[in-house]
Symmetry: C2
């Protein structure tokens, strides 16, 4: 039997894909076993458990599993990088079950500097699903550390990281802005109010508006239970305002979203206040990226590995 | 015996001043008994302890002690407000020792909205020490929630709040930017690097640069122990950049600092990268403000209550 086991192994979670000989996903499993939350037995035990009853297939992983705190450190590769270049820098280790685990490198943007691990594989996987976007496209990967990225000629050409998700969690859990019952009740009006405040913050930026979440509440203009939604809008709105202000990301075509559906829905709603059109979010992009890299480096043999490519002058 | 006991009673600390009949500070005492960290026995016990052995004098307090979570809620007063107007809105309660405690209101800025409690008294106290600044001046009160304020004709005319100090603490204690040994070693180069990164962040703002603290460290360009200093520079630099970008605060004359000497020294250093001149910080401004308000409302009788005033058209 041929095929691939793909591992998207991040800081807080592990997702495993069993891909068949055509690169189609046969089964997906998820565990809360990020590299900082491993079960007893560490990486080997986590891998054995999450692939139990699956065939012994080549294994390719991406994400923080390749970081200094991971299973095997795989150095960052500088931009620009496409799947072939990523593949050329894959490193391997022998697991206790006697089979290898291959790990994709992360990317480094010398401008900044900035780094990513895992998102590069998601991005390049998404391109295999939408080859029309290979020549020139802009991508948003919302999350704890949101990434904005630009793809040119099939390679990741630029990206930046914003700590939007982590800041939201910190402010909600530990700051003076901890208010309300803690229930995540949707409040579209409060969310929109935050987005618009950030959008209209001009050159001063919304960083200076964080305290407004408290002042509006004290003023009776924002219910305590609505503060989280306002804050979410403020932070996502600032991510959009700030990223667009850099002029590093084209937005004259739909921006592509990759990630959790509920979070991506927030970004789509926020973007509507910037007159921006965000495409529907893509799921399981990492699996497709891992498959593509596995094909490039001959880890799997298939005739479907060559995605059509277009070129441009971006 | 005449005189005043002044209380600067905030969220995390309590400071008591014994002022003599001329408004001079005879003794100062501090306790970690902010309104959220009261000793057994609450407000009464804290007051009794911190004023032990002092004469029974009129008592005037400012700060979060007048908030909804305080001893007695004193509603915010809208801008603009001078000491006489603040005095007219003082409210009083009878403590268990049989004497009253009078509490100064906080200020509300309808533009924003925004609020302060305690800083208004420090500001107006500082003016009594520097009457030349009464007509038109800009003030920075660094802290957990930094305030930038403009004074016109002896009244607080505008202000804004930035959560600089709280954000620094959150990011240091709970985020992925927790690095290093935790020792607060001075690193002027790393601090300056953060300030300059924020200053040069342009319209995108430094909010989007937070992750650079990690990326620079992974890149080997910033030692783990230097991350806190870089982050401090980034946040204070962003406070300066953002506040100046609003054009609400004049900086063609020295900006006035009120607050902790070590923290104010950081602000002075950061401001030098903006070609800004910050005056030496003022201490015990709250005591002077409480004295002035006490004079205005007849809580103490003195001939020294009338500070010289200048007028302008700001």
């Amino acid at each position: 039997m041929s095929g691939l086991i793909g591992l998207d192994w991040g800081t807080s979670s592990l997702r495993a894909y069993w891909l068949d000989e055509a690169g189609e996903i046969r089964e997906t499993r998820a565990r809360p076993w990020g590299i900082r939350h491993l079960p007893d037995g560490g990486f080997d035990a986590a891998l054995t458990d999450i692939t139990a009853d699956w065939p012994r297939l080549p294994r390719l992983a991406c994400g923080m599993v390749g970081s200094h705190q991971g299973w095997l450190e795989v150095p960052y590769m500088d931009l620009p990088a496409d799947t072939a270049q990523l593949g050329s820098a894959v490193r391997s280790l022998r697991a206790k079950d006697g089979l290898d685990v291959h790990i994709v490198p992360g990317l480094r943007n010398p401008q900044g500097p900035d780094v990513m691990r895992g998102e590069e594989t998601q991005l390049l996987g998404a391109l295999t699903l939408h080859p029309v976007l290979i020549s020139d496209s802009t991508w948003i990967l919302p999350g704890t550390h949101s990434k904005w990225a630009r793809v040119c000629d099939g390679a990741v050409a630029d990206f930046r990281t914003l700590m939007t998700g982590e800041l939201f969690a910190l402010l909600r859990q530990h700051s003076i802005l901890c208010t309300g019952s803690g229930d995540a009740t949707a409040d579209t009006d409060a969310f929109a109010r935050g987005v618009i405040a950030a959008r209209d913050s001009g050159t001063a930026g919304a960083f200076s508006l964080l305290f407004s979440a408290r002042a509006l509440m004290l003023d009776g203009a924002l219910a305590p239970d609505a503060v989280p939604e306002y804050l979410s809008g403020l932070l996502i709105g600032e991510e959009l305002r700030s990223s667009l202000a850099t002029n590093r990301f084209r937005h004259d075509a739909p921006l592509q979203l990759i990630g959790d559906a509920a979070l991506c829905a927030r970004y789509r709603l926020a973007a509507s206040h910037f007159n921006l059109d965000l495409a529907d979010s893509l799921l399981d992009a990492a699996a497709h990226g891992l498959w593509q890299i596995a094909c490039d480096i001959g880890l799997v043999s298939t005739d479907s590995s060559a995605a059509p490519k277009e070129t441009s002058s971006c």
